[in-house]
């Protein structure tokens, strides 16, 4: 089987358009699944609705594949995700919102990104969540994910043990997951 991982989004999508290449779909899906899910989650604010929006997004991408003409694939994908998630959100708004979630401001999303910065809203939501962490956890996250330091380097920088550095990053991630309306894994 040919390795498609080096191909660009447009090359992969052209394969899907021309001959329904499932392998190309897998690669594209792998590239975007988590980001699209996170994006949907930030719009609809509950995990189940985000799953609904996520599946609908990818089904729509395949359904509408012929309507895509080479451009910025990610912008097209995020636009579909945004519309879908908003629709799901609108449907759910009337029925039930999980306790503790504020109603989402639809206006906030309308012109919030251009074609090159497709998930700016997601990054902003992440930034807001990070800002709500305690200073120790925030620092650990900054060093690990924004400075790209290894756990040993984090431990050295903060003057803590290696295991404590790992624990801080793990706990910070769990807090962020909760702040982003996602149920973290149980870690005893």
């Amino acid at each position: 089987m040919k390795d498609l991982t080096a191909e660009t989004d447009n090359e992969l999508f052209a394969r899907i358009q021309s001959h329904d290449d499932a392998q190309a779909f897998r690669v594209l899906y792998g590239r975007y699944k988590r980001r699209i899910f996170a994006y949907c989650l930030q719009i609809v604010k509950d995990e189940e609705s985000a799953k609904d929006a996520f599946q609908t997004t990818f089904a729509a991408v395949y359904e509408q594949r012929m309507s895509y003409s080479p451009g910025t694939f990610s912008a097209w994908l995020f636009t579909i995700a945004k519309r879908t998630a908003m629709r799901v959100w609108t449907d759910r708004r009337v029925t039930s919102l999980p306790t503790g979630t504020e109603p989402f401001d639809m206006e906030e999303l309308v012109d919030e990104h251009d074609a090159t910065e497709v998930d700016v809203y997601l990054l902003e939501a992440l930034r807001k969540a990070i800002n709500r962490l305690g200073p120790d956890y925030k620092e650990a996250v900054e060093l690990r994910y924004f400075q790209g330091l290894a756990f040993e380097e984090i431990a050295q920088t903060l003057g803590i043990s290696l295991s404590l550095a790992k624990v801080r990053v793990t706990r910070a991630k769990q807090m962020l997951q909760r702040l982003m309306n996602l149920e973290p894994d149980d870690i005893s």
Partner: protein, 255 residues
């Protein structure tokens, strides 16, 4: 060393990973079925042709040996009994569109789905096939994987979004009856999206109601209830907008 991606790591819980895999599987099945179908159909014609030829030779040979015994049927020609059965159930005129019967229900769920066809749906050439399939499978026993496969094959030769929606809905029901709840949810989500984009409100509501059954089957009662709420609201909104429209028409007539 490449910087780890925070969003990727946050969106990597066990539950989510299972969900991503399940969705990927459903999507790949859908794409593969689309690709494989034309080849399979060509192959099927060769088989039909070959079987017909063999049956003819066999019949001739048999009759020449046993002149006293008339040949009653050439059953070898019946390649797809269920498909033939579904077409024959539609009566002699495939052009007339029969009202679809109630949705096949599992033994544990009450048969309460509305029976009328969504008024915004337009009849198409594929209707007789889909409705026939639905009629032929009212029980859990007959909701087989084979049937799901055959419906999937039809799905990917169908171009009209509304026809696709109906087929995805039928596939979803069968997957639920078969116990493949995750796949059923994926199919019903597709059905709902397509119905939504085709403005087929009743079909959209039905897809939601079926998804609600899937959710309740896996113990997610709150989710199931929310889905039913949405389905009920969709139908009420539609009713209300129709009532409003007709009131206006009536009032205009009164003047």
């Amino acid at each position: 060393m490449k910087k780890p991606d925070l969003i990727d790591e946050l969106m990597s819980t066990k539950k989510l990973n299972a969900f991503f895999e399940e969705t990927e599987r459903s999507m790949v099945t859908m794409i593969t079925a689309h690709t494989a179908e034309p080849i399979a159909r060509r192959g099927a014609w060769w088989i039909v042709g070959g079987a017909a030829g063999l049956a003819l030779i066999g019949t001739t040979a048999w009759m020449s040996l046993r002149n006293d015994r008339p040949v009653e049927s050439t059953s070898a020609l019946v390649v797809a009994p269920r498909a033939m059965e579904s077409v024959s159930q539609q009566g002699t005129s495939p052009v007339s569109m029969p009202t679809p019967k109630a949705t096949p229900q599992s033994a544990t769920t009450p048969a309460s789905a509305p029976t009328q066809r969504p008024e915004s749906e337009t009849p198409t050439n594929n209707d007789h096939l889909m409705i026939g399939q639905a009629d032929a499978t009212p029980t859990i026993e007959s909701a087989t994987l084979r049937e799901i496969d055959s419906l999937s094959s039809i799905l990917y030769t169908t171009q009209e979004p509304l026809d696709k929606a109906r087929l995805a809905y039928q596939i979803g029901i069968r997957q639920r009856l078969h116990g493949d709840v995750e796949a059923a949810i994926a199919s019903l989500t597709t059905a709902r999206t397509l119905a939504q984009s085709s403005h087929a409100t009743v079909l959209e509501a039905r897809s939601l109601a079926e998804r609600s059954r899937c959710e309740s089957k896996r113990g997610r009662m709150l989710e199931a209830r929310t889905l039913l709420d949405t389905a009920i609201r969709l139908l009420s909104d539609k009713d209300e907008s129709l009532r409003q429209q007709w009131r206006q028409e009536r009032d205009a007539l009164a003047h």
